[in-house]
Each structure stands twice: as C-alpha cells, then as structure tokens.
Amino acid sequence: MSSKEDILKKIKQNQPALMTELPDLNLLSSDNPDVFVTYKTVLKNIGGDPVEVANYDEIIHYIKSNYNLKKRIITTIPELSEIGSLDWTNDDPHSLQDVELNILKAHFGVAENSALWVTDDVLGQRVSPFIAQYLAIIVHKKDIIATMHQAYERIGNQEYGFGTFIAGPSKTADIEQSLVLGAHGARGLIVFLLD
C-alpha cells in the first residue's frame, strides 16, 4: 500500500465519528466606525509611514524629495513612469537585487492590522516587494476596510497564483526581543493613501 492510502485509511479509522458543523462567521463581523483613522494608527505602530495624497503628482513629488533618484526605482504603475521603470517584469527575478525602491498599488487595505492585499497582477514579479530595500504601496482611501473577515469576503474566489498581505516593513526581534526593521525584506514601508 502507498503512503497516501495508508495514511488516509488510518485517518478514516481514527477521526471522530460525529461530524462537527462549521461555525457561522457572520457573527464575527464587527464594524469599525473610523477605519481610516484606525488604519493610520495601526500602520504607525508597526513601523510603517502613512502619507495622504490627492493624486499621482503628489506621489511623484514626495518620491523626488525623499529618495535618491539615481538609485534604481521600479513600479508597475504607468502614471509613475517619470520616476520608476516599468520594463522589468519579465526579467530574471535575481536581477532585482539592486532595487532601492519599489512602488506598487494594493487592491485594498485592512484597518485592524494595516495589511495591504497584493497579488501577481499588481506585483510584476512575486519577489519584488521582498527584494527591494524600500517599499511604497498606494491604496485608495475608499479601499480601506475594517477587518480580515471583510478582506476575505472581498477576495472571495479571486483567481491568483500568488497573493500576500503586507503589514509594515520586514522586521525581526530575534536578538533579545529588540525590534529591528529590515530583516530580509524592505527596511521601510510608505503607504500612500490616495483620495
């Protein structure tokens, strides 16, 4: 008998005879009255920087005044072609190792934990939000929702090969519980909250 059949046979024998029903998740949907304020507070608490902007020009201006444009900046957003290159999505992912800043756009953000949902279609390359030294993610203010339950309602049956929630910069506290930002991924995260 193969391992699979062996394991499944034993499981069938040993799993509880009485089938337990799944609980109703609708009981959990607690509304947050001010998702936008909560989002910004939580993001700051976990080491990210919220920046409110009215349009893409303001984003371009912000990047120009806060980052060294001589270093490599990439993006998947055509509106930002003035400051970031767009022609890297078919390259070998290893070639992104010298990226200083990556600017992405998230599908939505979650107030309770400040996480942003991104998938293949907005990432350009799966490794792009991890390998860049710094990360900036744009999200529309209207796309901030309260909790993870609403997040998965929104994701629903969305089709993707890879998707991830990003909440703040990469971090570690593995040395004596001292928080250090920039473990292996981005050292800093700016979230542009767009009108």
């Binding site: 391992s3 998740l25 991830t164 909440a167 910069p169 004596e176 250090v180 991924g185």
Partner: protein, 466 residues
C-alpha cells in the same frame, strides 16, 4: 536523535536554574511577550467569540480530515502543484532528498518549519552531502551554534545579545564585542541575501492549507520564506496534515488570532498565499503523518492536533519560563509540546507531562481552545498505567493512595509527620526531599484539622455546653 541519551526535564531544569540572574531574565522576557499578547487580544471586542469560532472550525477539520485532504490534494494538483505523502519522518526526509537529487542540487535555503525539526531533516540531508541554511534570523543563530531552537516562534529566545555577538564574530566576522542588535541583524541580512540569491531549492513550512482552493499560506515577519521561494526554481513546502482548514474565508479567523497570540502583533508582516507555481518553476507539498493519525485516534488527546503553533502556551507557562525550551528535549517545547511528544515516543517523553503545575494558564490563552492542562493530567495517568514513570514516583503514588484511602492510616501518618517535622526536622529538610530544594518547610501546626474540628464543631461545642 533517538540514540542520544536524553536528560530528563527536571534535571535539565535544575541545570538551567543554576544561573539565577539569567533565569530571571528569561522568565521576564517571555512574560513581556505574554503581556503584549494580552494587550493585543483585549483590543478585539469579540476575542472570545473568535477563539470559539477557531476552535469549532478545527473540530470540524478533525472530524472530516480524510475528505478535506483529498479535496486539498485534488485542488493543489489542479493548480499545478506536486503533492507527496509521507507516513513518517523517514519518508518525509527521503521525499525531500529525492526532489533535491532529481534537480541535482546540493544546497537548500530553508525558512522556519518545526516539522523539519521534528523529522531531523537537516541531519539527514547533511549525511547525504546537502548543505541547509536556515534563514529565519533566530534559527540562523541557533544553527550556527549547533543548537536546536528553544521556542517555536522565538527560536533564540534563550540567548542574550552577547551570545549572538560572539557567534556572529566567529562565523560572520563581525566586530568583537559589538552587541548592537541593529548591527548584528544587518550582518546576517547581508550574508543571507547572498544565500537567497544563489539557492535553487527553497523549503518552507506551512501555516495553513486550504482544502477549497488547494493553496497554502506561510506567515513570516522577516520575509525570509518569500525571499527563498520566489528566487528558487523549486519550492518545497512541508506540512503536518493537521494544517488543513476548510475554506479560504476561514483564514480571516486564524490570521486574526495567530500573530496576536504569538507576539501581540496585529498580523505578521507577510501572510503569503501560494496557489500556483511561477511559469516553468515547481512547487512541491509534502503532507506528513508521523504519528498524527495515531493521535487522532486517542480521544483524550486528539484536540492537540488543533494547534496553530503560536507559542502562547509557552510564553505564559511558569515552568517553561523558568526551565527553558531545551529542557523539553522535543522539537516543540512547553505545554503543547508536552502533550504532543508522548504520542511520538511514550517512553522517551514520559517526563514531559509532569513538567507542569497544571495551573491552566496555557488553556486560557490557547487561540483554538485546546484543553492543554487537562491533557497533561490525562497523559500522566496513561504514563503511570503503562509503566513509563520512574519506580520511586510509582511507589510514592501507590503509598499515597493507600494513605489517602484509609482514615486510620491517614491519621497516623499525619501525626507522625507533624512529630518528625517538629522534633527531627533533618529527616525532612534534606536533599532527598525535592520539595525542600527551593523552599522552606512550613511551620508545624499543633494539631490536625481533624483534631481541631473534633473540638470546635457545633456538635462538640453543644456537648461541652451540656
């Protein structure tokens, strides 16, 4: 490995306790994490309902795991993922090695996976000439020191920055005596970046596997699992079969609970959903049993399979905090480890269910409501019944039960106890008495409660007044 002689928990704990200052520091550090968990949990209005919901989902999984596994496999295969099944640790290690061999690769970068610790994968691959580098910072530190992780979420929690500084000085050539965590982390980042960029095979653990969609979710703060997996040609993800959850929307419940319970964060920095491999690349999932189906058949202990590996029970445990993860001689330490380990090897791990005060704090913080302290108590009964406890303890327990069952003997025992403690204290206050190790014996009362009651009960007083 099983050939090594294990030191019993109580003995290992005694050694750990020799350095009082360090034990106090360890205790306080973990309690600090527990407090962060409380603060975070209290911000969620329906936290208790959330725990209850998670518990119910996991109960449903346990009662239907056969079908969910088949559903998961079919959907994962539809997504282009290759699924393997391993009955035990050996099978798991062989599968991982065969994938490496097929691609003719001798190096692997690995993110945190307690399952591979359980299976001793690193040792196995080393024997086959394959180099494994652990990329989680805590695991990287303990790997360089040739130690196992001492905590499932905080692998190097037993070490001080001075220890890490010395280890990095020796292996990475960092400045001697520089103990700045920022500097040390940066050095590891640089070294591991090179590792990520040059490895063709990356192995990760799995936090959740979704039957409905065939995808897996991996949670990290560092981004190390993603750095490895997205740069490699082959991603191997290893999971115990209990990692399954029925539907994608159930992630909403578990992702709200996991990081808050573990470290007090609202969520881990990255919660990555792997559904399909990149074009031309491979994702392999290894589904492992290794005793889990046996545990599923033990009615009293099957709930231990609901565990989502947050580590909250360790951070809160007064015994774990003051004995350290290594004293548990098992991949998973602390209260949850102590109810999982006897299932793997009853005789080798017979000491672990006794490494508890049964205070119940573990049960109170568990995000999926596992009755941990009840199971510890039940394991003790099983272990004594099956003859896995030391003779001295068995004799002591049998004597105790004789004494407690017979009022006359109980009386005599009480009297002689009080007499001895009062008149020959050396007979009790010595090294043979484990209770006396770190405590003073109490003052001896003049009489027993029974004697007092005889004099002072309403009946006795009424008699006196007659």
């Amino acid at each position: 490995m099983s050939s090594e002689k294990t030191i019993e928990h109580s003995e290992a704990a005694a050694r750990f306790n020799k350095d009082v200052e360090r034990v106090n520091w360890h205790d306080e550090t973990l309690w600090f994490v527990r407090e962060k968990r409380d603060k975070s949990a209290h911000q969620i209005l329906d936290w208790e309902l959330l725990r209850e919901t998670a518990s119910k989902i996991k109960n449903n999984v346990l009662s239907n795991i056969h079908d969910y596994l088949l559903e998961f496999e079919a959907n994962a295969q539809k997504n282009g993922i290759i699924v393997h099944w391993a009955a035990d640790a050996k099978g798991h290690n062989e599968i991982v090695h065969s994938i490496m061999a097929k691609h003719d690769v001798k190096q692997m970068v690995k993110s945190k996976s307690m399952l591979t610790e359980e299976c001793h994968l690193n040792d196995y691959l080393a024997e086959k000439g394959i180099e494994v580098i652990d990329s989680d910072l805590g695991e990287y530190i303990v790997q360089l020191r040739k130690e196992p992780p001492s905590h499932i979420v905080l692998p190097a929690i037993h070490l001080k920055k001075e220890d890490v500084s010395e280890t990095f000085h020796e292996h990475l050539g960092t400045e001697k005596g520089n103990i700045d965590p920022q500097y040390l982390t940066e050095s590891a980042r640089l070294s591991l970046r090179d590792t990520f960029l040059t490895r063709k095979v990356a192995l990760t653990g799995v936090n959740f596997a979704i039957a409905e969609t065939g995808e897996i979710v991996v949670c990290t703060n560092e981004g190390n699992a993603d750095m490895g997996a997205h740069l490699a040609d082959v991603h191997i993800a290893c999971m115990g079969f209990e990692k399954l959850i029925p539907q994608r929307k159930h992630l909403g419940v578990f992702l709200r609970l996991l990081a808050r319970s573990a470290t007090g964060q609202p969520i881990t920095t990255f919660s990555s959903h792997f559904k399909k491999p990149r074009d031309g690349k491979e994702i392999h999932i290894v589904i492992v049993d290794n005793g889990r189906s046996t545990q599923l058949g033990r009615e009293d202990f099957r709930n231990s399979l609901k565990c989502i590996r947050c580590g909250a029970c360790m951070n809160t445990c007064p015994v774990y905090r003051r004995s350290g993860g290594h004293s548990y001689h098992n991949a998973v330490a602390g209260p949850i480890g102590s109810i999982l380990a006897p299932n793997l090897d009853m005789s080798k791990n017979a000491d672990l269910p006794f490494a508890s005060t049964l205070c119940g704090s573990c049960t109170n913080v568990c995000p999926v409501k596992i009755d941990i302290h009840d199971q510890l108590y039940k394991w003790r009964q099983v272990l004594v019944k099956e003859g896995h406890t030391p003779t001295v303890k068995t004799i002591a327990m049998k004597t105790m039960s004789t004494v407690l069952a017979n009022p006359t003997i109980f009386n005599i025992a009480g009297k002689s106890g009080r007499f001895v403690m009062k008149n020959i204290p050396g007979l009790v206050n010595n090294k043979m008495n484990k209770w006396y190790d770190q405590r003073e014996m109490p003052d001896v009362p003049e009489e027993s409660f029974r004697e007092w009651y005889k004099k002072n009960s309403r009946e006795a007083k009424a008699k006196d007044n007659e």
